[in-house]
């Protein structure tokens, strides 16, 4: 054993060992290096190229850029075009209302998970995770079957005589909203459950022992402690829905223009790369603003976690 120790001290670690050590040391930036490399290649560089196209006039000949001059024209055009304002507003409305509805529908489910027995918990987990196992596109097409003019919903309503004319839901704002909420609900529920079940169940018991009703406990203990989950869930759902493409495209019937579908058309159909680039930039910046707002709100309501400077 003593021999092995000496051996280890006098043999310099090989290069591979050094790299592995650095990566696993958990210090500094090293553990994130693989992710940074991948992201730089597949995301940062292409995005930089795209951005450069948005802020320049350029000529393409035989598939390559031959001349490029800096220009703010695309940006000012976009900011003064009412179509952009309407489209981004529609995206923002859709994302915010989807996030709010997911929170409203998801929170009770997470609460049920917290207070329910073993089987309730299992059932909720299965029902929450199962939809994630199928593709979003499949689920979106399923809504076509349900919401269509001769779909399941209309047939049922017509047959029971609640309505006497098929409702037009498909290809409207409502169809998109319904689809969005259903598809993103698990993304809200899972962080809520994760944060809620991290807390000691004795806290709920202590609250009731001290005289709080169910509602009182929910308001004064469970809700404040689940704020980080609300923040994470909202940020995820908002980001996904604000930039979503598939659901509006399918359930909106091609005439529902949101930010992502607009960018798609600009880049794929009209080949206006500069417009697409500026739209992407606006999309990203506005998204970041909302995310920062969510983060600030979350921080405001979780001051107690930063105990030391209170």
């Amino acid at each position: 054993m003593a021999e092995a120790a000496i051996h280890r001290r006098i043999t310099p670690p090989g290069f591979g060992e050094q790299v592995a050590d650095a990566l696993l040391s958990g210090r500094g930036i090293w553990p994130a290096v693989p992710a940074i490399v991948v992201l730089t290649v597949v995301a940062v560089i292409p995005f930089a190229i795209l951005l450069s196209l948005g802020f320049s006039d350029f000529e393409i000949s035989r598939g390559a850029i031959v001349s490029q001059t800096f220009s703010l024209a695309h940006l000012t055009n976009a900011l003064t075009d009412p179509l952009y304002w309407i489209t981004f507003q529609r995206s923002m409305n859709l994302a915010l209302s989807t996030t709010a509805l997911c929170l409203l529908l998801g929170y009770p489910v997470a609460y049920l998970f917290l207070t329910g027995g073993r089987w309730t918990k299992r059932l909720i987990l299965v029902l929450t995770i199962a939809p994630l196992l199928t593709s979003g596109i499949v689920r979106t097409y399923a809504w076509l079957v349900i919401l269509g003019g001769r779909g399941v919903l209309n047939s049922a309503l017509l047959q029971t005589g609640l309505i006497d004319q098929a409702l037009r839901i498909m290809n409207t704002h409502w169809a998109v909203l319904i689809g969005m909420v259903q598809i993103h609900l698990p993304v809200m529920i899972l962080p809520l459950i994760a944060v809620m079940s991290r807390h000691d169940s004795r806290l709920v018991e202590a609250s009731e022992n001290l005289g709080a009703s169910r509602i009182g406990t929910l308001r004064t203990v469970i809700l404040p402690l689940s704020v980080p989950g609300i923040g994470t869930g909202s940020a995820l759902v908002f980001t996904l829905t604000y930039t979503t493409f598939v659901v509006p495209q399918i359930l909106g019937g091609g005439n529902y223009l949101n930010a992502a579908t607009m960018i798609y058309e600009q880049v794929v159909f009209s080949l206006e790369w500069s417009k697409g680039s500026v739209s992407s930039l606006i999309l990203m910046v506005t998204c970041l603003i909302v995310l920062v707002a969510i983060a600030l709100l979350t921080n405001h309501f979780t001051k107690w976690t930063k105990g030391h400077d209170a």
Binding site: D200, R202, L203, E205, A206, S207, E208, N209, L210, G211, A212, S213, G216, T220, V221, P224, L225, T302, W304, G307, H308, A310
Partner: protein, 359 residues
């Protein structure tokens, strides 16, 4: 309901118990955790549940607090059955083993919680919180969060949070578990004095026998979901009702022998009265034994080990019959301790202090 210094209400009906637990049972599936558990706690009394891990102490507290519903039996407070009363309407305060302080609330808001949940006016809340914090010596800590307190301070907050609602019955589940030995000793005395001063009827849970001896008016020794004996600390120690209790509390010497008519003969030749017949177990405490020179009596042995425990010397003596007997003697400056490996004789000081159990 917090009792002032002996008011007139203290003089009437002192016999009716505040808390009456009658034949309570609790099962989890097929496992019976509590069986026919019966216990009465009088006004202002501290009863300790003492027993090994898993014997059902926490389970009983949770039934009294209402977190779990017992499978049969009655739980009465001031003569009223509370089994169907929801948790938040029971006049019962619980100090949890892990404290369960609200991490997102300051000390003052933790302590004021029960009052706010009862919609008391702000001024009253502030005033009562301040007074309770003073009672537990935490004035000045109002604006700290639980994570900014030491273990002992957190524990005081947990107690203050319950005291503020002036419970009729106080339940404490191993409240000192997270504290180091020295702080534990100090807090035990302090908490007992506080509970006594406030006149709170309490059930205290522990598996530490010294803690039980310090805290209790009466001790209920439990084993497997049942009470083996409930009595004052002195009586439990001096007159353990069963061999289990004798073994569980303090150090005990057992030897097995045969009872003759009306009495049992001790190894040193003396006799103890008993009604039992046949095989019996005799028990005595180490301080009821004495060492002498080897020729002084018939019960001989060899000292195998000794150590000083504060003012006492504790000997392990290997008796000629193979038993290891523990003997303790006062340590006096002049006396040299009996050396290891030396031959001695053993004798019982007071045969009447020996206990005899069925074998």
């Amino acid at each position: 309901m917090m009792q002032g210094p002996a008011g007139p209400s203290n003089t009437v009906e002192t016999t009716a118990p505040v808390l009456g637990i009658g034949a309570v049972g609790k099962r989890f599936g097929a496992t019976r955790v509590l069986q026919n558990f019966t216990l009465e706690v009088a006004e202002g009394e501290i009863v300790t549940l003492l027993g090994p891990s898993g014997c059902g102490k926490t389970t009983l507290l949770r039934c009294v607090a209402g977190f779990w519903e017992p499978n049969g039996g009655t739980i009465e407070i001031d003569g009223q059955d509370i089994v169907d009363v929801p948790v938040n309407r029971r006049p019962v305060g619980v100090v949890f083993q892990s404290y369960a302080l609200f991490p997102h609330l300051t000390v003052a808001r933790n302590v004021g919680y029960a009052l706010r949940m009862r919609n008391r006016p702000r001024a009253e809340v502030a005033q009562r919180v301040a007074s309770v914090l003073e009672t537990v010596s935490l004035t000045g800590f109002e604006n700290r969060y639980p994570s900014q307190l030491s273990g002992g301070q957190q524990q005081r907050v947990a107690i203050a949070r319950v005291l503020v609602m002036e419970p009729r019955v106080l339940l404490l589940d191993e409240p000192f578990n997270a504290l180091d030995a020295k702080l534990r000793g100090a807090m035990q005395v302090e908490l007992r004095q506080l509970i006594k001063r406030l006149g709170l009827t309490s059930i205290f849970v522990t598996h530490d026998q010294e803690e039980a001896l310090t805290m209790s008016d009466r001790i209920a020794v439990m084993s497997g979901g049942k009470i083996e004996q409930v009595a004052s600390p002195d009586e439990i120690f001096d007159r353990p009702a069963t061999a289990y209790v004798a073994d569980f509390i303090g150090v005990s010497n057992f030897w097995e022998t045969q009872a003759e008519t009306g009495h049992v003969r001790l190894p040193d030749g003396q006799t103890v009265m008993t009604d039992l017949t046949g095989g019996v177990k005799v028990m005595t405490r180490p301080h009821n034994l004495r060492l002498g020179p080897p020729e002084a009596g018939p019960w001989k042995g060899t000292v195998s080990f000794h150590r000083n425990v504060g003012p006492l010397i504790e000997y392990h003596v290997e008796a000629s019959d193979g038993n290891v007997i523990r003997v303790s003697a006062m340590r006096q400056e002049r006396d040299r301790p009996v050396k290891d490996r030396s031959q001695v004789s053993l004798s019982v000081i007071d045969p009447a202090s020996c206990s005899v159990y069925p074998g």
